[in-house]
Subunit: 218 residues, 2 copies
């Protein structure tokens, strides 16, 4: 993890991140150890040691240990959830070319797999800690549920109206898609990262399964 990558990853919209070398070290060390043993089981002294920094330095940059966690995870959630759907291009594809619903689905799956591959520890931290920290749930709520979900819902709705998708409720359809994709990503990167994977084939299978599962029969 180099400085620029960490910086752009952890930048929240509207505010820039000031990064000294030591602060980058702290962030990288915290991400590593939080992912390894969980937030609560991680001590600030251990973070400082791995970062090659005095313990006090952590608290010069972050008010508290929890503040450090949020400084890492909040922007991570935003980058995980928002950017793919936020791009205008995708939105257009979604709305205009309903025939290529499966193409958009494949692009979405591929894109999110690549994002997680580059950010496995961050992905693990968010998955673990979102259950216990209200602020993270709110961040997820504000980004995914309020911004992204309405767009996806509209797309599914249009596809249903056009007669291509079954009239499962939209949450049900969406949950079916997300379960399949998350199930693969978690198995691929967290449960069995060492196994040999034919990702191209697995993606094909997922798209096929999902489309057959939610499409109307001819």
């Amino acid at each position: 993890m180099d400085e620029k990558y960490v910086k752009q990853l952890l930048e929240m919209e509207g505010q820039e991140l000031k990064l000294t070398e030591k602060k980058v070290n702290i962030l990288v060390a915290a991400i590593e150890i939080f992912a390894e043993k969980g937030y609560s089981a991680t001590s600030t002294s251990e973070i400082a040691k791995r970062a090659g920094v005095a313990e006090g330095t952590i608290f010069r940059h972050y008010d508290s240990k929890k503040d450090l966690l949020l400084g890492i995870t909040k922007p991570a959630i935003l980058k995980m959830v928002v950017p793919y759907f936020a791009s205008q291009m995708v939105e257009e594809v979604f709305k205009d070319e309903i025939t290529s619903f499966d193409g958009v689905l494949r692009a979405f799956i591929t894109n999110r797999i690549e994002f997680v591959r580059k950010n496995i520890p961050l992905f693990k931290i968010v998955l673990q800690e979102i259950a216990f920290h209200n602020e993270l749930q709110e961040t997820f709520q504000e980004s995914f549920l309020n911004q992204i979900l309405p767009k996806i819902s509209e797309t599914i709705y249009i596809a249903q109206k056009s007669g291509r998708l079954k009239d499962f409720s939209i949450p049900t359809t969406l949950r079916f898609i997300m379960s399949t994709v998350m199930g693969f990503i978690i198995t691929r990167f967290l449960i069995m990262p060492e196994a040999e994977w034919n990702e191209k084939e697995e993606i094909d299978n997922m798209v096929e399964c999902i489309m057959n599962g939610i499409s109307k029969n001819n």
Copy 2:
């Protein structure tokens, strides 16, 4: 949670659980707080306080805090994974009546939903802590991967040979099924427990989606 239920739930095969009233209180309190704030963030003094017990009493029954966690989660994993498939009845249905693959699937889904509904805190603890504790991963490995998975695999294999299921690899087919079911259970009981759910309909939809997803087209 009454004593008998806790007892049969936390009993490992081959060894009985000796339960005094105070020990039950400790177990119930530990399950509650572990689920609320996570294992690492929970202190033994807090468990003792909620259980109405001296802190030393915990360590009379369990060698360590981790021993208490394992005493709760190891049997919980076994009961979550094994019992449904272990019953001879189900095994027979699986093998003989391939035509009712979807019926077996529906029965499995319903059965596991009911189990989780009765054990939400335990389910949450296992889901959270299995990532960090090797012993839990081994317990899962020994029960699911070594005992149950071969049986399921055989069933899927037979259904594929008979020409009803697509020739996705067995892990892929199984992951597709488990992702869908786990996705629903996690959404239903952990993410949105307060929402109104039409479970019967959701189960129907899941079965339909899965069967369409993995079945051969006519």
